[in-house]
Symmetry: C2
Subunit: 187 residues, 2 copies
DNA sequence: TTCTTATTTTACCGACCGGTCGGTAGACAA
DNA sequence: TTGTCTACCGACCGGTCGGTAAAATAAGAA
């Protein structure tokens, strides 16, 4: 047994029940350990949550950054970045759910340490929008708010997306990127 | 003391702490009652949560429906509906947070009763999109998914919107509706 | 083999959880 | 005066929470 296995099980359980409803006993049962044994690997329940959030954010930042560093026009880069991000949310659904829905359960001190990393991720998207504006491909009144709209659409999918649903994450992201780039209005 | 006052306090506390972290004692303290007295007004903690969700959804359905029943072109109707919805989320921020973030904490039986009402609300938006498509104003591959994108953008605002921030909810909704209607791409 | 370290277990703790109990105070009516 | 109602209270219930201490076991290194 190691930290990674415990984290994986924790993500599943916290995703299902929410952080506060998920007990250390639940996690221990899932990895077939006694509850006390978890405290050999993690100093507290909060420590587990923080590790999950860090892991999730590291993963997403890394994966999206790779796409953003490609030499492409901003619109195509946006399309690919959205595809990568939504694919990542799907592939690591439990981890992603914890990141997006349970970060509010972090203690204040932990939370303060977490926020800058979130901002860094948000800035990736804002910079992409800005890049598009600078190159004359995009127009927007406020790149920061546009980035939040973008993240809102994508993040909200974790509340309804099911991998056995009608559409794959790739189809959904293509749909969303087309909507974002060209709008709903007929022309 | 009556049910409404308890619900109002409950919404504030549950919004802050989350359903499971908010205790009946917390709620009792907030309304200056003994914990036991809460059970004179509500049969259980779940009962409080369900009442909050019902109240929130009733409010939103009513307010948005009024806008949707106006005789307007679909694009203008969308603009006004988004403005109404985001204004409502801001005006009843605590209630809205509970609705959007805590419905997962409902017991299965309660949850099943709640879901159809949520679907009804989502359908309002889907029908509006469809109306725009039928009238030739909108084009979209899948109205249901477009509606979800729309709701995603708006619902996600409760995770970052602060009433003392740079923009009012009206400005944000105008920004979002413009983005949705005409897209990000320069033309 | 023995010593050391890493890992897990058993047994336990105080605090708090949602919820129930019997009972009380006051308003109103018969 | 008596009975009934709403609203509320203090005390308490069994159970679970996150977390701790110390003993037992497993795994390597010498």
């Amino acid at each position: 047994m190691n930290r990674e296995m415990i984290l994986e099980a924790s993500a599943q359980i916290i995703r299902q029940k929410g952080y506060h409803a998920a007990s250390m006993q639940d996690i221990a049962d899932a990895v077939k350990l006694q509850k006390a044994s978890l405290y050999h690997h993690f100093s507290s329940k909060q420590d587990i949550l923080l590790a999950l959030l860090d892991q999730a954010l590291d993963l997403l930042i890394e994966r999206v950054s790779v796409v953003l560093s490609r030499e492409l026009p901003a619109d195509e880069k946006l399309r690919q970045a959205m595809r990568e991000y939504l694919g990542c949310l799907e592939e690591h659904a439990a981890l992603a759910s914890v990141l997006l829905l349970e970060h509010r359960s972090l203690n204040p001190e932990y939370h303060d340490r977490h926020i800058p990393r979130r901002d860094r991720f948000e800035r990736l998207w804002r910079d992409l929008i800005q890049e598009g504006v600078d190159s004359g491909l995009f127009h927007t009144a406020d790149p920061a708010m546009t980035a939040r709209a973008l993240l809102g659409v994508m993040n909200w999918t974790i509340t309804w997306y099911r991998s056995d649903g009608r559409y794959s994450s790739g189809q959904i992201s293509d749909n969303f990127s087309a909507l974002f780039l060209d709008g709903l209005r007929e022309r």
